[in-house]
């Protein structure tokens, strides 16, 4: 029996309306990754995280809890759970997050911040003013909840005089660049992924990568934003040898991640098929989306395969980290 869709979506929508995020994040969890980086506050160009990396430890914890709910009577309790969640923030109690996962996600954001510096771009950060992008509720067809939230996100950029947002993941890039302009009036923000910023910069590697690598293209980057060239150009500039899996570029195959919370068993089967393709191409795999990464890393356990965020080898090469 799959999870009951309505209460799960209801909890996400209630959280966004009442608490500003699908899974509320404390200030420390939202901005802690930037501690010690001395990023200036605000500015015309900002690094906009959209909170997806910061949400991943909570999503991972919740997903493993829900996975145990699947096929169990307990999943009937989700309806009651939604009613309670309106009063108490239930989602943060539903699963204990792994500290290690949070450290990895925060380090990935720090790598991206360093890479944008290596591209020679001066930028700031909105710290606690930054809001979640709303990407997940958009995907679930909760359109009026999403539209209400998008107006709040746009207002934060306007109030801070931000003209360009540099994004760190495909889902945030896509909603901000391709969906916001259709639903928020006078939305003129320029949106660029950090991969585009770095690929278009003259940044040169300080340490070459001696690596055969398979790229797991994100469906949203490849087909939604036509972002296919940049990861290849950057890895090649760094010295890596690209080994393409059978499905790549605009024909990439989904990792199953988007349905990991609602339909864990289906997500797992789809992930296993994608991992088979990737493993046939190279031992080292890079991905560029925190959702893909969570799913692929989980699926690759016990396989002779290394899955990394593309920002990690790029930071080693371009920043010498």
């Amino acid at each position: 029996m799959p999870l009951p869709t309505a209460p799960v979506l209801g909890i996400l929508a209630d959280n966004l309306r009442l608490r500003g995020s699908v899974m509320p994040l404390s200030r420390k969890k939202a901005t802690g990754w930037a501690d010690g980086l001395d990023l200036p506050r605000g500015g015309k160009t900002v690094l906009y995280t959209g909170h997806l990396y910061q949400l991943m430890p909570s999503i991972a914890a919740l997903t493993s809890k829900l996975e145990r709910f699947e096929d169990s009577l307990l999943n009937r309790a989700m309806g009651i759970g939604r009613a309670v969640n309106r009063k108490i923030n239930l989602s943060s109690l539903m699963g204990r997050e792994d500290r290690k996962v949070r450290e990895v996600c925060e380090e990935r954001l720090r790598n991206i911040a360093r890479l944008v510096k290596a591209a020679g771009v001066n930028y700031g950060y909105l710290y606690e003013e930054e809001l979640y992008s709303g990407a997940l509720v958009y995907d679930q067809g909760l359109d009026s909840t999403f539209a209400e939230h998008a107006a709040k996100v746009a207002e934060v950029f306007r109030r801070n005089g931000v003209e360009t947002a540099i994004t760190v993941d495909p889902h945030t890039t896509h909603v901000l660049r391709s969906i916001f302009p259709g639903i928020v009036s006078d939305f003129t923000l320029k949106v660029r992924s950090y991969l585009e910023v770095l690929a278009d910069s003259p940044a040169v590697p300080v340490r070459p990568l001696d690596l055969d690598v398979a790229i797991h293209d994100s469906c949203v980057y490849a087909r939604g934003e036509n972002l296919v060239r940049e990861p290849r150009a950057l890895l090649e500039r760094a010295g890596a040898r690209i080994r393409e899996p059978e499905s790549h570029g605009r024909k990439t195959l989904c990792c199953g991640g988007p349905i990991e919370s609602l339909f864990p068993a289906r997500a797992k089967a789809i992930c296993a098929r994608r991992l088979d393709e990737l493993a046939a191409a190279a031992h080292h795999v890079v991905a560029m989306c925190p959702i893909c990464l969570m799913n692929l890393e989980h699926g690759a356990e016990g396989r002779d395969l290394t899955v990394r965020d593309i920002c990690e080898p790029l930071a080693e090469s371009f920043c010498g980290e």
Partner: protein, 104 residues
């Protein structure tokens, strides 16, 4: 505001999908990762939309919420149908009329 009647809801479905020119060729289903998991996506769902089969669609909510929105179907569709956008629309339809998560 009173809830829309079934006919109005059916009209809403038709108004959305009639803009697409699906020729029912099944290319989308051939590339979609979900049929391998025994989930009927996406040609079947589009056909039901075209026919305004509200109850049949509601019975397939599970398939509609299983779509990955990965756009592989859209990439290969010879008629240029925005399939994931139809799926997203159907989710919104269910969220409004069935789950009552948003205003009807």
């Amino acid at each position: 505001m009173t809830a829309p009647t079934m006919i109005e809801q059916r009209d809403e479905l038709l108004a959305f999908t009639n803009n697409g020119g699906c020729i029912n060729c099944g290319t989308c289903t051939a590339v979609c990762p979900l049929p391998k998991e025994n989930v009927m996506l996406p040609r079947h769902i589009l056909r039901l939309m075209h026919l305004g089969q509200r109850e049949e669609l509601i019975a397939r909510a599970d398939a509609i919420f299983s779509c990955l929105l990965c756009r592989l179907c859209e990439e290969t569709c010879p008629a240029g149908v925005s399939i994931p956008e139809c799926v997203r629309y159907l989710r919104g339809f269910m969220n409004r009329h069935l789950h009552h998560l948003e205003k009807e």
